[in-house]
Subunit: 457 residues, 2 copies
């Protein structure tokens, strides 16, 4: 087979179709965009039909719909289930974008837009690779698509959908492109993901905002108290102080850590790319270990008191923070959320009251690298990149991977083509045209090798 | 003399005129309200003319204008300079107001509106007391008014105006009603005020917002760092840790502290009024000492990262806080701002950069209680309340009192009629009609006694 000819002939259309998708501001976290999220679903359902999918359906859920579509060639061939998400992160702070987040522009062979990489650009590679295989009569596997619109807010309705559609979703492997490679000349495949526990905390002091002159010094200031509580969650070595937090953490062997250390990484490049005075993290671990195999605690947002123009001398009644913890095998989000809640409540001084509200969670996973599916993916990358991809543990979270395993009993291959520098979740998110086209080129080889290796099994 | 008859006959009009003034949202901190601030100035200038003031002038400054007006009866009589401010604090958070902040309502004999007490209600007492004395031909002193529109943002242009108008502002005493009494049956006169140093800090980590999965644990999170830095500004006894912060603090004698302790105060009432689980503050000092004779450090506002709906897994590039320190004799705002800036920059880890931007400051003052003016005020309160007022050190700041002393060499009498429970700077600010009318009744007695005591000197 040779996907490149069809790719060459159609790449401009592929790109312009992706730009149309990126123009739809499908921000799932903000109800103001709900119609746009639905428009994105309609757009993708139509593109699936155009590519040749059967039984395409926009399945309603309690939240945003899940798009299903399939192409069954014969019961003897293996079945691949492709997952992707058509919702995107909020784009704010808008003022930091060089061009509007939902008016995609191409600069230096990169597509700039919210969702360009995460995950619209990556999921659309699969639809175009599917079209390519259909047009070339080279689809060697049964193929099923499941595209959701709530990944960025915790996939709250996906597990219900999966439980209710186990037969329809039966497959031999799940393929997801929502991760990255080390560099365009250093291909890699993600072999593990961190889980997540996400909470929102509220600290209440006095029952109303107070004048800081008349009351300052005599009542607990909830902002100061919140800062003290947050500060106490790390010790001087940046270990997390929540009792039992590390109890179930799977420590890597010296061999595994040595293997990880072989991945190309230059701390000076890392620092200068982010203009950091210094890196920072848990004592005893390298930067690459800190953001992949170690659990973390980060404040993702904080607010309280007067944040407007000028100066207001007020003691706020309440202070708030959003806090997320990234988890590693064998921590569980339920366990960690419970331990956080218990500890955070316990350390609150008598002078305030505290509320901890759990948001979504997700479980960490390690995907097997000895499976046929992983090997097929590895060969496909080698075919198109000319190099064997390195297995890499990623720091991100795709909670549904663990859920698919537990609910459907199916392993996942994380066949991502993004780069850490794509600024996903940040202003000026982008996706390389090289990466977009390379994905469309690589995916058909995965199906080819996977079908062959499955049969010869 | 007997002001009550005229007061009885005109109080309804006095109140409705104040309500008209309160309907003007003269928020000086927010440029969006600049026309309203100017409208408030016009309104008051006209009311001064109506009351009988001569040479009323709306004097332009680099910011909001200062209203001057006078009534000179003869050069032999003592001259009183009345100061007040017609700007108000921002009203947010709006959602916590039971009625709109700029649509005053009267409930249970209290006027609810932003500025009802601070300072529109209190300054308007002086204009109506002036009208009363004019109508009854009982003005025994020369009278000068100076009303500014930038008190809530630091009176940035007042000192320039004072320097340029020293002759016009010459007086024997300055009277300000911008403070309170202990209770309506426990009259008091403020004999001291805290100063203030107000800064805004900015902590920058990475040069852009980052995905907390891909980077979490490996880069300094500016929100976590800001929390750690703020937490470190107090030790376990709630002493402020800034080097040299207490160097110049004037400690009160045991006698003075014993005298203070005589003022009626019930900590249980205090806690239940604010629904506090416990009071909180510097070890070794009582609640009343903590909020009056001790310096403090409070975060007045904090913000950073994602604060919208739902969950966003981001590491923010920047985090911000507004921090104010209340000062006591003999600290100076310049000294403390410098010490804060030096310390806060010094404790910043290498992984972030820090900016400290000073806002306005003000100096602490202690007003003499043995002066003719204070004695005259004390007798006036005793006349109308039936009790001798207690001298009280207040925790609030009126920076211009120290400036008047240094620029004009004139002492101030702080003849305030508000209550701590008036919720100034908070949602649902209000001012008692009792207090408004009692002020208008008391002020003429002050002029009477002050004129008599000055002559018999």
């Amino acid at each position: 087979m040779n996907p490149t000819s069809y790719l060459e002939a159609n790449k401009d259309r592929f790109i312009s179709e992706l730009l149309d998708l990126l123009r739809i501001p499908s921000v799932s976290a903000d109800p103001a965009f709900s119609n746009d999220v639905l428009r994105a679903a309609d757009y993708l359902a139509q593109k699936l039909r155009d590519a040749g999918a059967d039984n395409v359906e926009i399945c309603p859920t309690a939240g945003y719909p899940i798009i299903y579509g399939e192409k069954i060639i014969d019961s003897a061939s293996p079945t691949v289930l492709v997952y992707g998400h058509y919702d995107v992160q909020p784009a704010d702070p808008y003022e930091l974008w060089h061009s509007p987040p939902f008016e995609p522009v191409i600069k230096e062979n990169k597509i700039y837009a919210r969702g360009a990489c995460d995950d619209k650009g990556q999921l659309y590679m699969h639809i175009k690779a599917f079209e390519l295989m259909m047009q070339q009569n080279q689809l060697p596997c049964n193929l099923k698509f499941m595209l959701e619109g709530e990944e960025e807010i915790g996939s709250n309705n996906l597990d219900i959908f999966v439980q209710q559609n186990k037969a329809r979703l039966q497959a031999d492997v799940i393929v997801i492109s929502d991760t990255g490679i080390i560099a365009n000349d250093v291909p890699s495949i993600t072999s593990g993901l961190r889980g997540m526990s996400y909470v929102e905390v509220e600290v209440t002091g006095p029952n109303r905002d107070l004048h800081s002159g008349l009351y300052g010094g005599a009542v607990a200031n909830p902002i100061n108290v919140l800062c003290q509580m947050i500060a106490s969650l790390h010790d001087e070595n940046n270990h997390i102080t929540i009792p039992g937090f590390y109890d179930n953490v799977q420590e890597l062997t010296a061999e595994e850590r040595a293997e990880m250390a072989k991945a190309p990484f230059n701390v000076e490049d890392y620092k200068s790319a982010l203009q950091l005075g210094d890196v920072h993290g848990e004592a005893g671990y390298s930067t690459m270990e800190r953001n992949s195999i170690r659990p973390t605690l980060d404040v993702n947002g904080i607010w309280g008191g007067y944040t407007g123009e000028g100066a207001k001398t007020v003691i706020a009644s309440k202070a708030f923070a959003k806090i997320s913890m990234r988890l590693v095998p064998n921590q569980t989000s339920e366990e960690i959320t419970e331990k956080f809640k218990k500890h955070f409540t316990a350390i609150a001084p008598k002078s305030v009251t505290v509320q901890v509200k759990p948001h979504h969670g997700g479980e960490p996973v390690v995907t097997p690298t000895n499976s046929i599916a992983y090997q097929a993916a590895s060969r496909a990358f080698e075919q198109t990149f000319g190099k064997k991809p390195i297995p890499v543990r990623s720091g991100g979270s795709i909670p549904i991977v663990a859920m698919f395993k537990s609910e459907l009993g199916i392993d996942t291959v994380l066949m991502g083509f993004g780069l850490d520098s794509d600024a996903i979740h940040s202003p000026n998110e982008h996706y390389g045209i090289f990466n977009f086209l390379k994905g469309i080129e690589t995916i058909p080889y995965f199906y080819k090798f996977y079908a062959e290796m499955s049969k010869s099994k």
